[in-house]
C-alpha cells in the first residue's frame, strides 16, 4: 500500500520542527550553524530527534539544494512545502535516463549515478520542487525522498515524526484520504472543501487541507487532473507509425520520381546504339 503524508494547515503552528528534522535526517547544514552544538551524539535516537527538532525549528526558509522541506508563511497561515511524491510523477516520465523513479511504498526517489544533469525534471515539475547543486562541479538534483531509507527500516519520515501538533501525519494513502474527507465533513465551515492532491495531476502522495483556497497558500492552482506525462505520451506513442508510414511515403516518392532517370538512361542507351 502506497504511503502518504497529510498536511493540515489549520493545525500547523509554524514551529518549523519538520524543517529541522529533515536537515538532521539528511545530514544537511542547519540555518543556524551554532545550533549544531546542541545536537546529541550519533546515533540519534528517535526521542533525541524529536526533542532537538522541536526546540530548534526553522521557518521561512527557501527550498534549495540544502533545504528539502520548508515552512512558508502565506497571509498568516503556515504552509509546509516539499516534494509532492506524485502518483504519476512528471519528473520520472521526463528523465531521459530514468534517474528518478516512483517506489511501490510511495516515495519518488533519485539515483545520482544515472543522472547526467540535464535538469529536465526541474523544468517539468508542476510544483517546481527539484533543486540543483549549482555550486558543485559534480552536481546532483536534490529533493525530499519521503525518507525512503527510514521507511525501509519501518520508521516514519523525520518530518511527521517530530510534528508536535499532528499537522503532518504519515500513513496509507487511502486511510489518510478518508481521514481528510472525514475532517471536511465534520467541520464544513472550518475547511475549504477540497483535498489538495487527491486528483491534481493524477493524484499526489502528499495531501493538503486548508481553511482558505489553496492558491492563497502558494500551491499551484488550476493544475489539470490528468497526469502530465500523458501530454507527451500522446505524441511519443505516434512515433512508430510516423516512422513506418513516413519511410514508406519517402521510399515511394523516390521510386515514382526515379522514372525520369530510368527514361533518360534508356534514351541515352538507345542513342548510343
Amino acid at each position: 500500500m502506497s504511503k502518504s503524508i497529510l498536511v493540515d494547515t489549520t493545525k500547523c503552528i509554524g514551529c518549523g520542527a519538520c524543517a529541522t528534522a529533515c536537515k538532521i535526517v539528511n545530514k544537511l547544514p542547519l540555518d543556524d550553524p551554532g545550533a549544531a552544538k546542541d545536537l546529541p551524539a550519533n546515533p540519534l535516537s528517535e526521542d533525541d530527534l524529536v526533542t532537538f527538532a522541536q526546540s530548534h525549528g526553522e521557518v521561512d526558509g527557501k527550498l534549495s539544494a540544502t533545504t528539502l522541506n520548508v515552512v512558508q508563511t502565506h497571509g498568516g497561515i503556515y504552509v509546509r512545502r516539499f516534494c509532492m511524491h506524485c502518483q504519476e510523477p512528471t519528473c520520472v516520465s521526463v528523465c531521459p535516463v530514468g534517474a528518478l523513479y516512483k517506489t511501490a511504498a510511495g516515495p519518488v526517489v533519485y539515483d545520482a549515478t544515472r543522472c547526467m544533469g540535464c535538469r529536465y525534471c526541474m523544468m517539468a515539475c508542476p510544483f517546481s520542487v527539484p533543486r540543483y547543486e549549482w555550486k558543485s562541479a559534480l552536481p546532483k538534483v536534490k529533493k525530499c525522498t519521503m525518507c525512503a531509507l527510514r521507511q525501509a527500516k519501518g520508521l516514519q519520515p523525520g518530518c511527521t515524526a517530530v510534528c508536535p501538533a499532528e499537522a503532518s501525519i504519515f500513513g496509507d494513502r487511502e486511510v489518510l484520504l478518508s481521514q481528510a474527507e472525514q475532517r471536511l465533513r465534520e467541520a464544513p465551515t472550518k475547511y475549504f472543501q477540497h483535498v489538495y492532491g487527491r486528483e491534481e495531476v493524477g493524484g499526489t502522495s502528499v495531501l493538503y487541507l486548508s481553511g482558505v483556497p489553496f492558491e492563497q497558500l502558494g500551491l499551484p492552482a488550476h493544475l489539470p487532473g490528468d497526469p502530465m506525462p500523458l501530454l507527451t505520451y500522446r505524441v511519443l506513442s505516434k512515433i512508430p507509425n510516423l516512422v513506418s508510414l513516413g519511410g514508406l511515403l519517402l521510399g515511394g516518392i523516390w521510386w515514382i520520381t526515379s522514372r525520369r532517370e530510368e527514361v533518360a538512361k534508356a534514351e541515352s542507351e538507345e542513342s548510343d546504339r
Binding site: T90, V94, W134, L250
Partner: protein, 393 residues
Amino acid sequence: MTKFPKITFWRVVLVLVLAAGFYSAVLRFVRGLGAATNLSDQFPWGIWIGFDVLCGVGLAAGGFTLAAIVYVFHLERFHAVLRPSILTAFLGYALVAVALLFDLGKPYNIWHPLVMWNPHSVMFEVAWCVMLYLTVLALEFSPVVLERFHLHTPLRIVKAATIPLVIVGVLLSTLHQSSLGSLFLIVPTKLHPYWYSPLLPVFFFISAVGVGLAMVIFESNLSARAFGREIEMPLLEVLGRAMAVVLAFYGLLKFQDLWGRGALSYLREPSTETVLFLLEITLGLVIPLAMLLFRRVRADRDGLFGVSVLVITGFLLNRLNVSITGLEASSGVHYFPRWTEVAVTLSIVGAGFLLFSLAVKYLDVFETGHGRRGTGYGVGETGYGVRDTVFEE
C-alpha cells in the same frame, strides 16, 4: 617556408571570442554551473539550451531538407547546394553536442542514454535521434572526405547506401526537430499561451523546414562572398518560393491554433511577451512572406538574402521565446545570460565558421573538382559575380 596567416578584423574577433570562451569554459568546469551562468532553481535552462541546442539544431535543418529535395524528389539540379548544406548540418549538430557538454551538470554521463533507457521521455528520444542523425550526416558527408584521400572502395559503398541513408536521415530529422518542440508539451502551466500548444511539435517541424531553406540561401551568399563562389540564383529562387509556401502554411496554422485556444486575447495586454511575440511574427513571417510574393525580390540576390536573414531572425526569436521568454512570468525571476554564457555560445558559433572554412579549403565541398577555390565554376578570389547559369544534368 611557412607564412604567418594574414591578420584580418574577423580573425582578431574570432581569437578574442575563443579566448573569452576558453576562460568561461575553465570557470564552468572547475567551479560549476553556478559560477559560469545565471541559471537558477527557478530558471534551470538558459541560452545554452535555448540558443545553442534549440536554434543550433534548427539552423542545421537545411541538410535534411536539401537531401530530400535532391535524392527523394529527384530534383538533381539542386545538387550544387547539397554538399555545403550537409556540411553545415554536420557541423551544426556536432557543435550542439559540444554545447551540451557545457550545459549538462555531469557531461561525462552524456553517453548514459545509450544504455539507460526511458522511452517515455522526449529527451531520451531527442538524444537518440540526434546521435543517430549525427552518424547519418557523417556518412552523408564522408564521400567528400573519401574522395580527397582517394579511398575508392569505401566511397563506392557509401554512395550505394545514399538513398536509404537520406530517407533515414529525413525521418530522424522530422522526429527530433519536432521533438524539440515536444519537450515543452510537459509545461502547460508554465509556458505562455502565445507559445504553448498541443501542436508544438508540428510548429517546430514546419519552422525547421522553413529556416533550413533560409539557411541554404544564407550560406550560399556568405560562401560567395568569402570563397569567391558564384550564386546559384535559379536554384535559390525556387527555394525562395518554397520558403514562402512554408511560411504561409505555418502562419495559417499558428493563427488557427491561437484563435482556437483563445490566446489572441493576450494581444490586448502590452506585455513583454506581446512585444516579443509580435516581433517574432512580424520579422520572421509577415515581412518575409510579403516580400517573397514579389518576383523582383525572389530574383534579386540581395533581396533573397535579406529575406533569409529575416526568416532566420524570426526563427531564433521563436526558439528563444519558447524556451526563455515564455517561461519567465511563471518562474518568478528574470533570466539574462551572464557574459560567460554568451562567450561560450559565440565561441561555438565561431568554431563553426572556422571549421566550415577549413573544410572548404581542404575538401571539395563546392564540387569544383579541385578542392581549391578559384577554379572550375568559381569566378575568382577578389569578389563574386552573379551569373545566371543554366544547369545541365
